[in-house]
């Protein structure tokens, strides 16, 4: 049988999950009092509550089924444009995050050495007092800049930012430079917005996906849209060195040489400009810098690109012609995690320019409202104190183009280690696992070693919590409120579908408590979570009770005119960017050859699987149950040449680290590449399901920062392998 899930994986699993338990046996009898009060759950504890998923940043709408006061099933909310009644595999597994037997349900204070995992339970009073006093000591002794704050984007982020900017630190680490800086900065330089929205309507004819693995890195509605489009016969060209599940669905898979996506797109531009296939009306009216672009791309012929990309010139030529012929019903997708090579920023620029040249604006792409809202209220927001210290991540004085909001997390970490321009002494982390997510784990450990104090907010003892001094247990997304999230013409609610277990508390509560102890109460002017949301709703005249019942607040509809204005210095789409040029970077995309592995070494590829979210979900028993063992992919011919076989244990070595992992021999990868699933290799023994599974890509990743966008070049790591 060809079962993906062999009985072996179940047996392996039952050995890991001690005393394999059914969900039903482990659900504690808690019911959200609010949900009972608002009539969503009856006296017997049965009913349905609408809320918002948090298994990834797509944030689908969910309907939680409550039986006997316990959440027993999650379904997609048909009213939500991101879920349309569906949930992905992670969304389906979400209740297992909440009911994870490894949940931290009381504040913890470290008693042993860091990394020993010895903690004692503490009251919130004690844990918060200790955290605040340590933070105030650091501020008094070294200044507020000596305290680093980091968190991965979430709905309570605005209050996290109040904590750090109110405290006065400029040092803010987010996931962004490890993910999408290249894409966001390229869009800002070209379109003056972070990320245009994509339109998959019935007219769509042609899509180029540059590494956007939508069938595994699932965004429920967009994945469905792409699948529908393929079903309708839309041509999808997919560029990736690996035969992913998206490659399997695409019309055409091009196994491009890593680091050369830029050359491919420059050659597309060459054909479209050289053969006059662009939309000249659109270009004349709405763009600037065509001449500079035309002059630069003249040299980048498909014949030039062929030996670089290892894609035949005629294929590149044909795709350029097909794309232009399908335009404006054609879309070149930017991708999402675009932190691949130092030249990824220019790749992203080339993609945005490709779209602009064929005039697909307001056809397959349009301005995106983002997550902000002009109509929702908010608690009073005093101005922040001026942070006089330089940022440790070098933004903007070393990286003039990188937006402050994005920052460069890996540079921040590096300068904690170097102590330049000053030494950091404390680190406050919320909903993030930098121990796993930053490249070069060895250096991340050095950075943590420099700290006098580390506090982590999370729902489990993630790897960063494991080495922290204080762990503050957050309520899971099914147990808490977060601020409202506008999507389209609705603002969606996250509300507790069950009461928080143990002493877990919402981030809104934790940040407020800490803020008050730090003398920052003016930044936290809400009585409790419900009061926060009521202040958001106040200008709309909608009651919280109505929102709790429907799951969203209807926002006033604004008549949308097709918008042909861009928030760039010129007000047009900038094919040539004066901003880039002025600070010494190329104003139009130019070829920048990436480094290559030495003979015998491999590019280290990473990329998502559908059953995991970054570094946070590997301990979810349901996801673990239906996940493949994370193994190292190696091309079958190469394996044969090297005498390696499927299931062999191999030693993988990069410039900065070494791991042991089992081999998966497959024809589905280029011979010069190996692939690892990111997010495994956890060191926290507090993660009893994930501990010991797979190996960590972060151990191997070498730190390289793109000087323009600040993006970490995650694929610019080369490894050797040998039988272990």
């Amino acid at each position: 049988m060809n079962d993906t899930l062999s009985r072996r994986s179940f047996i392996k699993l039952s050995a890991i999950t001690v005393g394999a338990i059914t969900l039903g046996e482990m659900l504690p009898p808690f019911v959200a009092q609010d949900a009972i009060d608002s009539g969503l759950i009856n006296a017997a504890g049965n009913g349905f509550v609408r809320s918002t998923c948090e298994m990834c940043v797509w944030r689908c709408g969910l309907i939680a089924k409550i039986r006997d006061g316990r959440v027993v099933k999650l379904d997609g909310n048909p009213d939500h444009p991101h879920s349309r009644g569906h949930l992905c595999v992670r969304g389906q597994s979400g209740l297992m995050n909440t009911y994870d037997p490894d949940r931290v349900l009381t504040p913890l204070i470290r008693t042993g050495n860091r990394g020993e995992g010895k903690f004692r339970e503490a009251s919130w009073e004690e844990a918060l007092d200790l955290t605040a006093s340590k933070m105030l000591q650091i501020k008094d002794k070294y200044g507020p800049e000596a305290m680093v704050f980091s968190s991965t984007h979430n709905l309570s982020q605005v209050q996290f930012e109040n904590l750090l900017y109110g405290y006065g630190s400029p040092n803010y680490g987010t996931q962004r430079s490890l993910c999408f800086n290249a894409m966001i900065v390229a869009n800002m330089m070209t379109y003056g917005m972070e990320e245009p929205a994509r339109i998959y309507d019935k007219e769509l004819q042609y899509v180029i996906l540059t590494g956007r693995n939508l069938m595994e890195a699932i965004s429920t509605s967009e994945t469905g849209d792409l699948s529908d489009a393929i079903g309708r016969g839309v041509k999808v060209v997919y560029i990736d060195p690996r035969f992913t599940k998206t490659a399997a669905k695409a019309t055409e898979w091009l196994p491009i040489k890593p680091g050369t996506d830029l050359a491919f797109h420059l050659a597309l531009l060459n054909v479209i400009v050289g053969e006059g296939l662009y939309n000249s009306d659109f270009v004349d009216k709405y763009t600037i810098g065509f001449d500079e672009l035309a002059q630069e791309v003249e040299q980048y012929t498909p014949e030039w690109a062929e030996p670089i990309t290892q894609i035949p010139a005629e294929t590149i030529h044909r795709i350029a012609q097909e794309f232009a012929a399908a335009a404006p019903n054609a879309l070149a997708h930017n991708g999402w995690r675009t932190s691949n090579f130092i030249n990824s920023f220019q790749t992203q620029r080339a993609i945005t320019i490709l779209n602009a040249l064929v005039g697909n604006w307001n056809v397959t792409m349009k301005a995106s409202a983002g997550e902000g809202s002009d109509v929702l209220g908010k608690p009073p927001q005093p101005p922040y104190p001026r942070a006089s210290a330089l940022r440790l991540d070098g933004v903007p004085y070393k990286y003039p183009i990188v937006p402050l909001k994005l920052g460069i997390f890996q540079e921040l970490r590096d300068n904690i280690v170097t102590g330049q321009p000053y030494q950091a002494h404390g680190w406050f982390i919320a909903r993030q696992n930098p121990f796993m997510s930053l490249p070069d784990r060895g250096r991340t450990i050095e950075a943590f070693d420099k700290m006098d104090f580390i506090a982590t907010v999370d729902i489990v003892l993630n790897d960063t919590a494991w080495i922290s001094d204080v762990v503050l247990p957050e309520a899971s997304y099914l147990e808490r409120y977060d601020p409202l999230l506008p999507v389209g013409d609705k603002a969606f609610l996250r509300q507790p579908v069950i009461e928080p277990q143990g002493d877990a508390r919402s981030a809104l509560w934790i940040y407020k408590q800490l803020g008050e102890r730090l003398g920052l109460e003016d930044y936290f002017q809400y009585k409790d979570e419900e009061d926060y949301i009521r202040q958001q709703l106040a200008p709309l005249g909608i009651t919280l009770e109505e929102v709790k019942s429907k799951g969203y607040a209807q926002l006033p509809t604004v008549e949308e005119e097709p918008d042909f204005n861009w928030d760039t210095p010129s007000g047009k789409i900038e094919l040539f960017s004066e901003t880039l040029s002025r600070v010494g970077f190329a104003g139009v995309p130019v070829w920048d050859p990436p480094p290559e592995p030495m003979p015998g070494a491999f590019y280290l590829l990473t990329g998502k699987v559908a059953q995991a979210t970054q570094f946070a979900s590997q301990n979810n028993q349901l996801l673990n149950k239906y996940s493949d063992e994370p193994r190292l992919w190696l091309n079958d011919k190469v394996a044969e040449d090297r005498g390696l076989e499927d299931d062999d244990w191999v030693e993988v070595t990069s410039e900065v680290g070494q791991v042991h992992i089992r081999l998966k021999v497959t024809p589905g990868i280029r011979p010069d590449c190996v692939y690892m699933t990111p997010g495994y290799g956890h060191i926290s023994k507090g993660l009893t399901t994930a501990y010991g599974l797979g190996a960590s890509d972060s151990v191997l990743h070498v730190t390289y920062t793109d000087p323009i966008s600040g993006s970490q070049a995650l694929t610019q790591t080369f490894v050797t392998i040998r039988k272990a």
Binding site: I11, V89, G224, A610, Y626, K637, G668
Partner: protein, 262 residues
Amino acid sequence: MSDHSAKPRYGFLIDASLCIDCRSCTVACSVENEVPMDSTRIWMKETGIIGEYPNLQRYTAPYHCMHCIDPSCVSACTVSALKRDEDGIVTYDEDLCIGCRYCMYACPFEVPNYEWDRPLPLVVKCDMCFARLQEGQQPACAATCPTAAIKFGKYEDMLEEAHRLINENPGKYVNHIYGEEENGGTATLYISPVPFEELGFPIAGTTSPAFSNRLVTEGTPLVAGSMLVGLSGVYLTIKHLKEEAEAERLRAEQGQTVGEEE
């Protein structure tokens, strides 16, 4: 006793061209039905990555109870724990099950799963999310599928849709609706761009062995008695062979597990 030839009321249509192997259906099923962590009612079948680099293909499809029109498992069940209800759903009653595992050996699709690690093991299989149907909801797997690879509805509509998709998309699918005739017909229907053997589907005959089984479980005591002896002999032989293979596999895996820890 249900009608052994009545067409089912409900049916699944599973399209391997749309399945992205995300496994949302598998988790949805496990949660909805509180399936133990070491067991499952639903698997992924796959071709694996086939072909020679760079000309590759990969297809997958979720796989669960076929809900046969004349189910072999029902006929093999001596205590009527397995039944086919009036809607054509093959249901399982754990209160009646004696754990004999005859159904596992009778099923040509290798569907009933067993809670091997339990002192009183039960059979685990799909019941079309019977409870959800009563609440007017789709089965959990179909409801959540992000690409609509699993469709659920009236059996007749599903069958018609399967024919339409094959007829209107020449060359896209193999000209075979798996389940239309397999084992005498099933409520779960599949269409696929590749032959079903390549997806790892069992090759099932077009008639159900349920008739001969019924002689054992429903026939006159005399006939049934003599058949039972014969059937038991066959059963014990198969059981022995399967258990040997299982033990062998376990030994191999034990070795691997030890290797992992070194």
